[in-house]
């Protein structure tokens, strides 16, 4: 048993010059270190993206405010969206996948460690390039300009005629690089899961985290690449005189929309599947029961993977498609809610009859469940095309997707941080700071995003730097903005918890949560080689079998 393993790094750590440590980190190909690099990169960009949001919310606090100019506001919402999707959400989820997948399937590393490192540094370069636009956006002669075309970069707004200078190119190339990194990591995850599982772990015995990352990676292969293709086309238009999206030459603005949303919609499922993974690993442990309906959870995931590829034009309900197309996308969009709902029910079934421990990871999971339910239901509303003709491109949509991303994805990520931080660092995060973080964030989140639905219903479109008084939007926007300040404080508490617990947290040991998957069988933090000897498993919960030899899962599953 690897509980006897001595953490070797602890012995060697003392006395190493910082330059050597830095060099190790920069040249690492270890999945655990790369995972952490991804996570740290994402957290840095989270702060940047968060500040962008705060500035926008200050500008919108009352009608006709002049905190920032329209040009700056338009850059802010473009950078906020682009940063959060491509340089926060994708990297942080790939970071967790990188760290956890090999450990949970009993492997020593990812299938292609050097590709892993390459993908990370490519993504990091993309992030750097996006922000370099502030300096280099219009050439270094004049003021630098961040891109201001919205994170969807609709044509023909991105044509040279309407976006002179280079700011749009920074968007295009930065996101393209991030895309290459994503595809590289997706290939790595698939190869790792298919080719490096430990003996006995056939696909039906893999942790759900592995399944969800497998399906997510498969989706990345065919959803990120359409965006790459569209961006290549945009570059051809902007630099080689091409006409892909040149409406003067017969090109189609709608074609860009199709290509973008064929990426853009499945992308949000790419983001949510790893979060489902976290919930599926954490809720069972804190309910003290196995996940309810493992095969159905796998089936629903695969179903979501396929169906989500057929819904993209619900982002285009207002562009004038005919009634048959609108009806088709209505039904597919509603249909994808079915396997998603089934997952919520299965998590409920897992908690049902359990003995729930409300430690911080579980608090965030419960928050996720309530909030993701609501987000899914507002999604069903938006799925109804006529309803979307009113609500689309309004603050109702902004509220809906932030409900999913902040109320769903971010909550699941917080749960994952509190759950796996002990494994990664060997220390527990402070429970009291964790609870404070949770409750403060819940208050701020609901103040902002519950309220935000209403201006949408009252006719407030999105992407506007200011609005007219007398429409009933002012007080609501004020409440929304105040909520963001509360969320910011909660995040600061979280960051403080991360930092202070590294030195002052209680020692975690191998298995602080009494959990059942392979990562809890190794030391905290794990040694570089992960496992002293590659384990062999006989069920979905190998550690449960060890702890309950009289009643192992292998008898039932």
């Amino acid at each position: 048993m690897s509980t006897e393993v001595i953490p070797i790094e602890a012995l060697q750590a003392a006395g190493k010059p910082w330059t050597e440590t830095l060099h190790e980190w920069v040249t690492t190909v270890d999945h655990k270190r790369l995972g952490l690099l991804y996570i740290v990169l994402a957290l840095l960009f989270l702060v940047v993206g968060g500040v962008e949001a705060l500035i926008m919310r200050i500008q919108l606090v009352h009608a006709h405010n002049t905190f920032v100019s329209p040009q700056v506001f338009n850059r802010l919402f473009t950078m906020h969206g682009t940063t959060m999707i491509f340089f926060v959400a994708m990297p942080i989820l790939f970071g967790f996948a990188n760290y956890l997948v090999p450990l949970m399937i009993g492997a020593r590393d990812m299938a292609f460690p050097r590709l892993n490192a390459f993908s990370f540094w490519l993504s990091a370069l993309g992030g750097l390039l996006l922000y370099f636009s502030l300096l280099g956006g219009s050439g270094l002669y004049g003021a630098g300009n961040a891109p201001d075309v919205g994170w969807w970069a609709y044509a023909p707004l991105t044509a040279k005629a309407f976006s002179p200078g280079h700011s749009s190119d920074y968007w295009t190339i930065a996101v393209m690089l991030s895309g290459f990194g994503s595809v590289g990591t997706a290939i790595n995850i698939i190869a790792t899961i298919l080719s490096m599982r430990c003996p006995g772990m056939h696909l039906g015995r893999m942790p759900l985290l592995a399944w969800l990352n497998l399906v997510m990676s498969g989706m990345v292969l065919i959803t990120v690449t359409p965006l790459t293709a569209a961006q290549l086309m945009l570059l051809v238009d902007r630099y080689l005189g091409g006409h892909f999206f040149d409406t003067q030459a017969g090109g189609s603005a709608v074609l860009w929309m199709h290509f973008f949303w064929i990426f853009g919609h499945p992308e949000v499922y790419v983001l949510i599947l790893p979060c489902f993974a976290f919930i599926s690993e954490i809720v069972p442990v804190f309910s003290r029961k196995p996940i309810f309906g493992y095969p159905v959870m796998v089936g629903a995931t695969i179903c979501i993977g396929f169906v989500s590829m057929s819904v993209w034009a619900h982002h285009m309900f207002t562009i004038g498609m005919n009634s048959y197309a609108n009806s088709f996308f209505t039904i597919t969009t509603m249909a994808v809610g079915i396997p998603t709902g089934i997952k919520i029910f299965n998590w409920l079934g897992t908690m049902w009859g359990g003995r729930i421990q409300f430690k911080t990871p579980m608090l965030f999971c419960v928050g996720f469940l309530f909030q993701f339910l609501i987000a899914g239901l507002t999604g069903i509303m938006l799925a109804s095309a006529p309803f979307d003709w009113q609500l689309g491109n309004s603050y109702f949509v902004v509220a809906h997707f932030h409900y999913v991303i902040v109320g769903g994805i971010l909550f699941a990520l917080f749960a994952a941080f509190y759950y796996w931080y002990p494994k990664i660092t060997g220390r527990m995060l402070s429970e009291s700071l964790g609870k404070l973080h949770f409750w403060l964030f819940v208050i701020g989140f609901h103040a902002t995003f519950d309220t935000m639905h209403i201006p949408g219903i009252l006719g407030m479109p999105r992407r506007i730097y200011t609005y007219e008084p007398g429409r009933g939007w002012d007080a609501l926007n004020l409440v929304v903005s105040v909520g963001t300040a509360i969320q910011a404080i909660a995040i600061l508490i979280f960051v403080w918890n991360l930092i202070s617990s590294y030195w002052k947290g209680a020692r975690a040991g191998n298995d602080p949560w009494d959990a059942w998957t392979l990562e809890w069988s190794v030391a905290s933090p794990p040694p570089a080689y992960n496992f002293a000897s590659i384990p062999a498993v006989a069920s979905r919960r190998p550690l449960w079998d060890l702890k309950h030899p009289e009643d192992p899962d292998s008898l039932y599953e």
């Binding site: 100019s69 603005a253 509303m381 407030m460």
Partner: protein, 343 residues
């Protein structure tokens, strides 16, 4: 035109008037989607009440179950570290909570499909008024092809009596980037996309002013590309049409201003019917004084603001495509005086 789901409207209205939303919606400058004043908006309102009812019910049920689970199944101190029964799943339960959502989706879809078809495939009666809307960065051009009218930013349409409907059918085009026509109390939004013709229709049942704005990000001043729709009685509409069909006023007292207008760059972008000015890049100014606002709603149409707009558009709408004309005070006053005769 008969529309499905009208039966959901009365209870929906009652429910909502209990909420301040509807109260706000009664005001004349309301832009609430729950204060419909034309058939498309009404149809969507009825459907949305149905969808809200169904999703509301789902929410109550699942929320209750979740809350119950969270409370009833908390681990207690006296548990003694015993593990609860390890249940792996249940095929019947999985079937139940698959079949029920499928049925709900089918019902929601059918209700939705009816409304989609009813709105999008509505036939156009002979009495319809035709308006071509052309989106520009950052203003609206309105052409009435059968009436020979070109105007900007404020659209006049006749009220439509449900017994003898006179709807307005809009053709939506764009001169540059994507825009979207959204007047929430009248209809859902439809986009204006270059190299594409989109269509929508309105049949407002009450006279009044209806507000809206561009709903597809189109550049720097997307936020101030406002819409003002004036729904007029039949008589008022006829009067407006006849006034618009006149050429621009020719007042001898403002000849100096007219000369300034015609000899500076104004005529490159603007048109005034009956003069040499025939530019189409900017709004048609023939009847500028018939409008309540300037700069597509960016400012009230007053003398001082008109003067400021011409002198320095960025003071009102920073980033708009109208350049500052840099006229001296005398020329500026003359031009303003001239424009103020264009009723």
């Amino acid at each position: 035109m008969k529309f499905p789901l009208k039966s959901f409207e009365p209870p929906g209205r009652i429910a909502l008037s209990l909420v301040c939303l509807a109260a706000a919606g009664r005001a004349d400058n309301s832009t609430s989607i729950f204060a419909p004043a034309a058939t498309p908006a009404h149809a969507i309102f009825g459907l949305s009440m149905f969808v809200l009812a169904v999703t509301g019910l789902i929410f109550v049920v699942v929320f209750t179950l979740l809350a119950y689970a969270v409370i009833k199944f908390r681990g207690r101190a006296g548990d003694g570290g015993r593990e609860p029964a390890q249940v792996y799943g249940s095929t019947q339960i999985e079937l139940a909570w698959t079949v029920i959502p499928v049925l709900i989706v089918v019902v929601l879809f059918l209700a939705t499909a009816r409304v989609i078809h009813a709105i999008q495939d509505a036939p156009k009666p002979a009495s319809a008024v035709d308006v071509t809307v052309i989106g520009h960065q950052f203003w609206w051009e309105f052409r009435y092809p059968k009436l020979g009218i070109v105007t900007a930013n404020e659209m006049h349409i006749p009220v439509s009596d449900p017994a003898h409907p006179t709807p307005t059918f809009l053709k939506l085009l764009s001169a540059d980037t994507d825009h979207s026509f959204w007047v929430p109390t009248l209809a859902g939004k439809t986009d204006l996309i270059p190299n594409r013709v989109n269509e929508m229709w309105l049949d407002p049942s009450r006279v009044g002013i209806y507000l809206g704005q561009c709903a597809q990000y189109c550049g720097t001043q997307h936020a101030k590309m406002l819409l003002r729709v004036s729904v007029d009685s039949a008589a008022d509409f006829d009067r407006w049409v006849r006034a618009e069909q006149q050429a621009g006023a020719q007042d001898a007292k403002v000849v100096a201003g007219k000369r300034v207008f015609e000899t500076t760059a104004c005529i490159n972008c603007h048109a005034i019917n009956g003069t040499a000015a025939d530019g189409r890049f900017g709004p048609d100014l023939t009847h500028l004084m018939s409008r309540a606002t300037l700069a597509s709603g960016g400012a009230e149409n007053t003398s001082a603001l008109l003067r400021l707009w011409i002198q320095n558009p960025d003071a009102i709408k920073p980033g708009s495509l109208m350049p500052a004309m840099k006229l001296n005070d005398a020329d500026l006053d003359a031009v303003v005086a001239y424009l103020e005769t264009l009723r």
